[in-house]
Subunit: 242 residues, 2 copies
DNA sequence: TAGTGGTCTAGACCACTAC
DNA sequence: TAGTGGTCTAGACCACTAT
């Protein structure tokens, strides 16, 4: 590679160099890239400069550092195409793509007052309560998305009794309430995860995720569910067909 | 605030503290937060720890550091709701929201061979050429989005003669070719910008953006335009109605 | 000139992994 | 035990802004 002589911005040149190595196949998926100290010697720079470079390519999704072991080239493709439409949900999406190994985990649930935002989206009055569920979805062994789902208590009597053996929210709605909410609108966003979300999703704190806030309607036409999903952007692309 | 006694992770506590200050109104929009050296004294930590904390809240969108001046609280709301549908384009979106001050700038254009991805999306054969435009859009004085738009040469004879006084791509298509492409599908992504894109969009390199790849069809039904837009996530939310 | 953020060197200690 | 990444202290020089 070309010599680095100019002052400053060494970290970006090292980051570019490492990306070129990965692109050109010098380091392949799941390979370990050289350790920080090896890169220090190679480039004659301080360790912090190398760390800065590795941080950048980590955030860009090229490598994943593992304490005590090294930094490893991430798997490149975004295998999951997550179709966003009025009817599709997580389960349908997985099955339409032939993904067999998925599962939901109900992290916790609560009954309480909605936030102002939730109240507005669900058109609730000031004393209406909601159920709030936190659901973690996996594809294979990898966390894929986190969703906060909010349901008006009034519309779902005795909802909590169905949560003991939670497997699928939509199974509950169909089995117990005999209807399926219809997505009426979604708002998408690129954000960085909170520290808690990053931990649960198994990604570094500076890797962007997609945030999708959706309003779901009762078949009769009024809003009945509000959900905010945070989805690993390194594992999926969101597909919208018109 | 509470004393920081535990070892390590000071930077996250300082970041949280600063966020709380902004949330609670101690520092308001466009206010300068304390300088790095002031925060060093306040927390009895080294400057690099403070910088780490400020980096985090910068990436989260709370502040924008300006060399020689300080770090300033960013404007909070995401004012632009960008509706994604089969017919809406940038211009319609701005006007439907009453945004008057927008403009497009054609950064450059070229005629050449498509990439493999472009060829597939546009269903071109191996010797078909394309026009490729790079367009920067502004809202007020702020860069808002960058778009790479690819058009088959064969479908747009003498396209380049219309680019001299570029104002709007869709004005050209309607005026010169008498049709308007229809969005058939979009794929959304949360990513970090390239260094060039970050520069053009006027954002730090670790602030996430939304990437929207769209295929537009000729009214007769076949693909006629492929575009990849990179949109500042701090300025907009993408709205989809079903 | 003084103050600010941006980058770099130098080196310490810790936690985790592998042997 | 040796090697790795994670965090922190200490201090240098630079570029930019304000006065």
């Amino acid at each position: 590679m070309k010599m680095l002589k100019e002052q400053s911005l060494h970290h970006l040149e090292i980051a570019d160099y490492l990306i070129q190595c990965i692109r050109s196949g010098v380091y392949k998926v799941n390979d370990k890239i050289p350790s920080e100290s090896e890169l220090c010697h190679q480039f004659h720079v301080h360790r912090h400069v190398v760390r800065h470079a590795i941080h950048r390519i980590t955030n860009l999704g090229w490598v994943t550092p593992v304490q005590g072991k090294g930094s490893f080239v991430s798997s490149k493709p975004k295998p999951i195409l997550y179709a966003l439409s009025s009817k599709t949900r997580f389960t349908e999406n997985m099955e339409s793509q032939g993904v067999q190994q998925y599962k939901n985990e109900l992290l916790y649930w609560e009954q309480g007052m909605p936030t102002e935002e939730e109240r507005q989206h669900l058109r609730l009055s000031m004393d209406d309560e909601v159920y709030r569920l936190e659901i973690l979805r996996f594809i294979g062994k990898h966390p894929f998305s986190l969703a906060t789902t909010v349901l008006p208590v009034e519309e779902f009597p005795d909802f909590d009794v169905h949560l003991d053996n939670y497997e699928s929210l939509y199974q509950i709605l169909i089995d117990a309430y005999h209807f399926q909410p219809i997505r009426s609108q979604s708002m998408l966003d690129a954000v960085l995860p909170s520290l808690v979300d990053a931990e649960l999703l198994g990604i570094p704190e500076n890797v962007p995720i997609v945030k999708i806030a959706s309003i779901m309607n009762h078949p009769a036409g009024y809003p009945i569910e509000y959900s905010v999903a945070r989805i690993r952007s390194d594992m999926h692309q969101c597909l919208i067909e018109f």
